[in-house]
């Protein structure tokens, strides 16, 4: 049993509340009890995924290590500020167009007692670079090398100039473990993190148990420990937080929302997620190569009804390629309204003849897409566009879609899957040479904007370029962005200091606390 520090709980809670009130981080704080934190409390978090790849940092398992307060990165992305802030690195600067230097924080110790040094950071990052299945944010195609030019400094070199290196080092996949974690073939995080919680035991496919790190560099840890449960079934996560078996349940399914919103003793938190359900249209094949036909399809759809019916309020009508709360969204205004007369006129002007039904592929990985497709089919029928629906696994649909042998595809995409910046998404999905350009869209003006953004260091200026690029996609009606999904978590009211992160990277922190009842 680790010693329990009962240190300044009231001050800590006050600090947490103050920080939350100031918008210290993104998302929504839970409705908090006025009672004081009890530092002997432990917390249970129901997470929606289990580590499938052992604990390899380059895999999605890094999300679990990060949300559980074990794994930390050199930088962190502050959702509320929309910028990268210090973590294990205190500062960073661009040493040359291709080199970024990060100053490593003094006084940080790994949980095995060894000191965090520039060398240990370089060992960790180089381990990720050598992975057979590379991380999206940090791999050898994007990063040339990681070195230690001088004591206390880590230098990250890129093959081309990139202002996004600090963002890449905020990715959970570039988390830092002590060198001892990489001895042998497997990655062992036990005792090798720097975070506020120390993993002490794991039950495979079931849970990870952690205790407080009494020597945490970031201040006193307010909880005695935590259990992260891996529960893939959404209804089970909802039931556990309702019964009080779990204190926090991540990613609540739409079907469970109403019962939780009416339940006592807990709060349901929602935030815009970077996931947008999208009706991809093949811009390279008739009749969808005509912008008027694509615009008519957008105008024919009733997005508000779609969000309210199929998504049961767990998603909002999309205003464009970005969620309106994203710092690069620009002035996106409201979601497009259904305009059947306008759509019919556009189709007539385009000379559209319904000589064949257009096919929508609805991927089966998202169960709701079959219903979404049916709603779209009905909406389009009203303007004279016949539609047939096929359901397929994504893997089965992908070759035809990438080859351009399709009409429309219902799918969903996470814009920030690699880093907290949409550069990768906008480039891969919509530039002429994009590796994931499912829409087969090509516009030189758009490509120029993206190329300029790729070398723009100032975030404000870069975000403005993204907004302009998004405007082109909307103007050309490249796709129909249907609904922005909401990240929905449920939190018991005796949990203090919980701030929702739409990307589920940060859940347990030193400030997370719990009252006795």
């Amino acid at each position: 049993m680790l010693p329990v520090k009962r240190s300044r709980p009231i001050l800590a809670v006050a600090a947490v509340l103050a920080l939350s009130g100031c918008g210290f981080s993104g998302g929504q704080p839970a409705q908090e009890s006025s009672a004081a934190a009890d530092t002997s409390q432990r917390i249970v978090v129901d997470n929606f995924r289990a580590p499938v790849a052992d604990w390899a940092v380059e895999s999605d398992a890094a999300y679990i290590l990060s949300l559980s307060g074990c794994l930390e990165t050199l930088t962190k992305f502050d959702q509320a500020k929309g910028e990268v802030v210090p973590s294990l690195a205190t500062e960073w600067k661009q040493h040359s167009p291709l080199e970024w230097d990060f100053t490593i924080r003094d006084g940080v110790k790994f949980q095995d007692g060894t000191a965090l040094t520039a060398e240990s950071v370089a060992t960790a990052l180089n381990h990720v670079l050598k992975a057979t299945v590379p991380a999206r944010a940090f791999n050898s195609k994007i990063i040339s090398s990681v070195s230690v030019p001088q004591e206390g400094t880590v230098r990250v070199t890129t093959p081309t100039e990139s202002p996004l290196v600090p963002y890449r080092l905020a990715s959970v996949n570039s988390g830092i473990l002590s060198p001892a974690a990489y001895e042998g073939e497997r990655t062992n995080p036990f005792g090798h993190c720097t975070g506020p919680f120390v993993p002490v035991s794991e039950v495979a496919q079931q849970s990870l148990t952690l205790d407080r790190n009494p020597d945490y560099w970031g201040g006193d840890v307010q909880l005695a420990g935590a259990e992260i449960r891996f529960i893939t079934n959404g209804a089970t996560r909802a039931a556990q937080v309702q019964t009080g078996e779990a204190d926090i349940s991540m990613s609540i399914p739409a079907a469970s929302l109403s019962s939780l919103e009416n339940a006592d003793g807990l709060s349901v938190l929602k935030a815009d997620s970077p996931r947008t359900a999208t009706l991809y249209m093949n811009n390279g094949r008739a009749p969808l190569d005509n912008v008027d036909v694509r615009t008519a399809i957008r105008d024919a759809l009733d997005l508000e009804s779609l969000a309210a019916s199929v998504y049961e309020g767990a998603a909002l009508p999309a205003t464009g390629v970005f969620a309106s709360s994203e710092p690069w969204a620009g002035t996106t205004g409201e979601a497009p309204k259904q305009d059947l007369d306008g759509a019919k006129k556009l189709l007539a002007d385009a000379g559209y003849t319904a000589d064949r039904p257009l096919e929508i592929i609805a991927i089966v990985e998202r169960a709701e897409f079959a219903d979404v497709a049916a709603v779209i089919q009905d909406n389009l029928k009203a303007v004279g566009i016949p539609v047939s629906i096929v359901t397929k696994e994504y893997a089965a649909a992908e070759p035809d879609v990438i080859a351009g042998n399709y009409d429309m595809l219902l799918s969903q995409r996470n814009r920030l899957i690699d880093i907290a910046d949409p550069a990768g998404f906008l480039s891969a999905d919509y530039t002429c040479s994009g590796s994931y350009n499912l829409s087969h869209f090509c516009d030189p003006e758009y490509d120029q904007l993206l190329a300029k953004a790729a070398t723009t260091v100032d975030p404000e200026e870069r975000y403005s370029l993204y907004a302009q690029a998004g405007g082109i996609l909307t103007e050309k009606a490249v796709n129909v962005w249907l609904v922005n999904e909401q990240a929905t978590d449920a939190v018991r009211n005796n949990v203090l200091g919980y701030v929702q992160d739409p990307l589920s990277r940060y859940v347990l922190t030193a400030q997370t606390a719990k009252t006795a009842s």
């Binding site: 499938v52 790849a53 052992d54 390899a56 380059e58 895999s59 999605d60 057979t132 299945v133 590379p134 991380a135 999206r136 195609k141 073939e185 497997r186 039950v203 495979a204 496919q205 079931q206 449960r229 891996f230 529960i231 893939t232 079934n233 209804a235 089970t236 039931a239 556990q240 309702q242 019964t243 078996e245 397929k392 696994e393 994504y394 893997a395 089965a396 992908e398 799918s411 995409r413 996470n414 899957i417 690699d418 891969a428 590796s435 994931y436």
Partner: protein, 313 residues
């Protein structure tokens, strides 16, 4: 006896070979590239670089001809080495053995519960054949067949976890966490077991030796206890074995809903993720255990009904 054991051993080997080869082929006969599926299971997202696919394929030996891959696996399994998971790169044995232990506990609990419930119900229904008690028991237990696990499980959670707060809604942390998943799994076996015991009781009661026993001076309860019930239970041993074998790999829905880290869930994930070594390792264990259990059931059946012995030859 020896021919029987030899025949069962051959069955075991054949079953392992056929099932492991079928599992091995699944990723190659389902849409999409198995290597891309493996990558997506490790790193979520849609975009995959072709160079990464090539590198992983080479690293896992997936560029070899299928038959070479299969016989390579077979050579390893013959020495007791289940190999490494394609997805986690950890030993398959480290994953399947704990999962098998969990599922064995769950299935044993479910079948014990089913036997405990169905025995008295089946006996009463058989002895009261055609009477109201028989009709009530039969109609209630038969209705269990129509209750799918994905419907029963949330209902039990609603009642016992959410409303009554007497049992945990999910997890695998103690005897109390076993109750709801075991009860969910037990419902359909209860139906079949009750039906089998009932039918066995009716047949046994109608057998010639029962009136003979009565003629020798046994009372009705004595005749029932000594002749009807033992003979009426014979079909149950085989049925329990069959259900045991089926539930070993077939409890995936219950395991997912109740977050039980068992074999069904492990096998399902392995197939979905194209994790061939993990799926093969799991299937080999499940099939071997299933054959052993059904063989054991045959021995029990033989002990209960000596007349069957001749059929083993």
């Amino acid at each position: 006896m020896f021919p029987f054991i030899a025949k069962r051993t051959a069955t075991l080997v054949a079953a392992v070979l056929v099932s492991s080869f079928a599992v091995f082929l699944i990723p190659y006969f389902t849409p999409g590239d198995p290597v891309r599926t493996i990558i997506r299971s490790r790193v979520s997202g849609n975009i995959i670089d072709d160079a990464d696919v090539q590198a992983l394929s080479l690293s896992l030996g997936l560029q070899d001809p299928l038959i070479v891959q299969y016989f390579s696996w077979l050579g390893r399994i013959a020495t007791g080495d289940m190999g490494l998971s394609h997805v986690s790169r950890t030993p398959v044995a480290d994953q399947v053995l704990p999962a098998l232990a969990v599922t064995l506990s769950l299935v044993a609990a479910a079948l014990a519960l089913a036997v405990l419930v169905s025995l008295p119900l089946g006996i009463v229904a058989g002895l009261r054949h055609g009477k109201p008690a028989d009709r009530v028991i039969t109609s209630v237990t038969q209705s269990f067949i129509a209750m799918p696990e994905y419907w029963v499980a949330p209902l039990l959670v609603l009642v016992f976890a959410l409303k009554l707060s007497v049992l945990p809604s999910a997890g695998w942390s103690g005897p109390e966490s076993m109750v709801l998943p075991a009860l969910t799994l037990a419902l359909r076996p209860i139906s079949y077991f009750t039906s089998a015991v009932r039918a066995g009781m009716i047949d046994a009661a109608a057998a010639e030796h029962v009136p003979a026993a009565r003629a020798r001076g046994l009372s009705v309860p004595q005749a029932v206890l000594r002749h009807v019930i033992p003979n009426g239970l014979v079909p149950l041993s085989t049925l329990v074995a069959v259900w045991f074998a089926g539930l070993l790999g077939g409890s995936v829905i219950v395991e997912v809903i109740f977050a039980v880290p068992g074999m069904g869930r492990l096998l399902f994930d392995a197939v979905v993720n194209s994790d061939i070594p993990l799926a093969q390792g799991g299937v080999v264990l499940v099939v071997a255990l299933a054959v052993l259990v059904t063989t054991l059931a045959d021995f029990v059946h033989r002990a209960l009904t000596p007349a069957v012995e001749g059929s083993y030859a």
